[in-house]
């Protein structure tokens, strides 16, 4: 497959890319992906829906957060190296400043009775949030019994046997990739 056919070069200035990602970075409450789609596909029309899905799947399979990996991939595609750099800076800047302030306020007032009470609720909700992500991802990509076994072994290695995340990732990851090696008849899709 030729490299250039699939990627029509769109000329968007790096400054425009920065402004757009700064806006997403400042407004994407509750998770960046829906806002990215709304902005890049619907409002700006910089990406086709299929391109967006493709870039998102690359973002998910590489280390790094979806929000920042998407900023790099989209910035790169639209405005090269500078575009990628400015996109990730724009994406991170607002949240980073907000959390810097939150940290300062929390350190000063985190032990007030009312703050502690609110934080108990917030922390419990965050656990529910992660579980929802796990279920949603699981529905999409856990296909065969072996996949569930890999999930279970990963959890056991980290939580019960206190292996480092890196060891677990490499050990279970390699095994799982080999399990899904090319040519093996799989029930997937």
């Amino acid at each position: 497959m030729s490299n250039d056919v699939a990627k029509p070069v769109r000329s968007v200035s790096a400054a425009t890319v920065f402004r757009e990602f700064l806006t997403i970075g400042a407004t994407s409450f509750g998770g960046a992906v829906p806002y990215l789609r709304q902005s890049l596909v619907v409002r700006r029309g910089w990406l086709e829906e299929t391109e967006f899905v493709e870039l998102l799947s690359i973002s998910q399979s590489l280390p790094g957060l979806n929000a920042t990996n998407m900023a790099i991939l989209v910035g790169q595609r639209l405005a090269g190296r500078l575009g990628a750099a400015l996109a990730i800076i724009g994406m991170c800047l607002p949240g980073a400043l907000i959390m810097l302030l939150v940290g300062i306020v929390y350190r000063a007032h985190g032990d007030h009775a009312i703050t502690t009470a609110a934080l108990k609720g917030v922390s419990a909700a965050a656990v529910g949030l992660i579980l929802a992500t796990v279920v949603q991802l699981g529905k999409k990509s856990l296909v065969e019994y072996a996949d569930y076994a890999f999930v279970a072994v990963t959890v056991l290695m980290v939580n019960t046997f206190h292996q480092s995340v890196l060891t677990t990732l490499v050990a279970v990851g390699l095994f799982s990739i080999l399990w899904h090696r090319p040519g093996k008849t799989s029930k997937a899709e």
Binding site: M1, A6, A26, F29, G30, G31, A32, I58, S61, P63, G64, L65, T68, N69, I72, L73, R81, I88, C92, G95, A96, I98, M99, V102, G103, Y106, R107, A117, L119, K120, G121, V122, A125, A126, V127, G128, L129, I130, L131, A132, V134, V135, Q136, S141, D147, F150, V151, A152, T154, V155, V158, S164, V165, L166, T168, L169, V172, I177, H180, P182
Partner: protein
Amino acid sequence: MSEIPAILRVFGYLSLLTVGGGMAAFPEMKTLTVETHKWLSFDQLVHLYSVGQLAPGPNMMLIVPIGDWAGGWLGAVAALVAFFGPTAILTYVVGRWWQKLEDWPWRRSIQRGLAPVSIGLLLAGCFSMAKGAIFGLETAAIAAGVLLILLQAKVNPALLVLSAAVIGVLTFGGSS
């Protein structure tokens, strides 16, 4: 000031563990920032992560206050650069190359193979955090409520977290 190299090392390492999501790095983040370097307590780590879900942008910005507490504003910048730099460069280099490998059979094997591991790492991170967030019936009910609502309806998660803050004040406000 001497904490800066440690901050760079810790967050640079954690950066590479965020496969599938930031939560994948959480158990290691707890070990390194709470137990090894004692930059903050486990409760504080849980609180900062959770409040971070209310901020816009990437949901791991708790690294900024941790960096700030450990090494001042320079520490905050160091945490940001270390946590986002390595994966940014990796994505920049590999992302382009990965797209060209569409027909390489191992690409699919890698994606299929890493998916259950990254889900397992998220779940492990979740359990690790639950130890500091779920105690007793009330907190378990809040977590279960959020999970069920998110699976049933299209609600902005930040609104649910905010509602949980109010429920927290109403539930625990009087006693503690």
